[in-house]
Amino acid sequence: MSILSGKNIVKSYGKENVLKNVSVEIETGKIYGLIGRNGAGKTTLLSILTAQNPATQGEITLDGKPVWENEESLSHICYSREISQVTMFGPNTLKVKDYLGTAKAFYRNWDEAYAKELVKLFNIDTKKKISKLSKGMLSAVTIIVALASKADITILDEPVAGLDVVAREQFYKLIIEEYSETGRTFIISTHIIEEAASLFERVIIIDNGEIMFQENTEDFLARAYRVSGEADAVDKATEGFKIYHPESLGRNKVVTVLADAPVEKFAENVQVEPVSLQNLFYAMCVNDGREAV
């Protein structure tokens, strides 16, 4: 197993700190989910981990060796990002086949047959210019590059953004198939959390340029609860725990709790339910949580 590690990453643009002392460890052979709000720093973090952007401070290594400008490290990585349909000079007139051709030239393990198969599956006309593609086709092209790169560590940034539900399900199937067959590492950043949550062995949550959590998804959710009931009862039952997003309706109160370890029992007079990853994320990032002492 290899580790792609980012230690103490700081990224600032002028006075603005986009990433504030971020440390992550990616173990190969797993599917990771990277979730965070818009502007949280997901894309910046991924660009820095893959040496596409320089960090202001911090060390990025793969198996202990630096990634920056390092051929060996770079050959194991593919970061397929959103393709822009406009350039500084006008519409992006690059044809899909040229885009894929560039990928073929640079990714060491590019699988052309697989790429052709996927092009057919997604029904892409490769002679089309990027500026003329629909959102769905645009997403499809980034997915094709990611999958056909056959890179050990493959990163997809918002891969399902333009896809309708049928295409999304198709995408998840492709990832599962590929992962089952090859055990490649996938890091998927997404907004559509709940659909993909069951895919993620580990989840990384980033908010405001800081990593809030990076854990095994199941273990993480096993210690998250939605506690509801009469306001006083809920407060008493959840004393000492980390609370997020308390909501009240009349005398009924609901809070999301994240414990340090799974809780056997809270109290008799409150109702306890598990929380989905999406709801947990929502509760944590919607900015009205308080931390318990």
């Binding site: 660009s47 596409q52 320089p54 051929e71 050959s75 500084m88 000079f89 030239a105 990714y107 060491r108």
Partner: protein, 213 residues
Amino acid sequence: MSELSKRAAKYYFIQGIKLVMVSLLVLIFGGVMWTFFSMGEANAFEHVLNMIFSFGTLFMIMLNFLYSMYSPAWYDSLVLSMGARRKDVFFGELLKQITFIIGTVLIYIILAVSLHRPEHIITILTCSIISLLMGAVGLIVGHKIKKYGRVVYIIFVFVNAALFATIGIRQADGKTLIDAHADSRYVIVSAALLLFAILEFVVYRINKKAMVV
């Protein structure tokens, strides 16, 4: 040479060849167009040839400049996002431009020799050096556009328009683009080469910290 370097070199070489094709197309198109326009004029053939060699070589300069300008924010950024190193991009760009220039120069020299007009060869060679220089300038401009946005691009569109107008006026006066007299030639070429070396160094420095757009 490392495996990645080889692949990058091959890629950029092919891009250079594609640009040579563009040059060829411009040449053919220009030739046809000027022939058409000079039909029936006295000395039509002379005129057309002059046009081809002066504008053609001008295009060599312009094309290299333009493509270089487009590269940092577009093509090079793309390549960088697909696992190339910055040094692969730097050397690749040089390879692409040199391939383009040599390819285009060969086409024009062959044309000049086969049409028994060896006097144009000097112009061709001088323009090739200037083209090289303008390639480096283009890269720097391209990086500035990448950093500061479209504004820089618009400024240069205007500058280009002005340049074209000036040349157009000179053409109308019957002069070729560059009066390649014996003495000034050497000065121009030496200055251009020196400037080229300096600018490539600047490009190398900027490129080192390049980000994917």
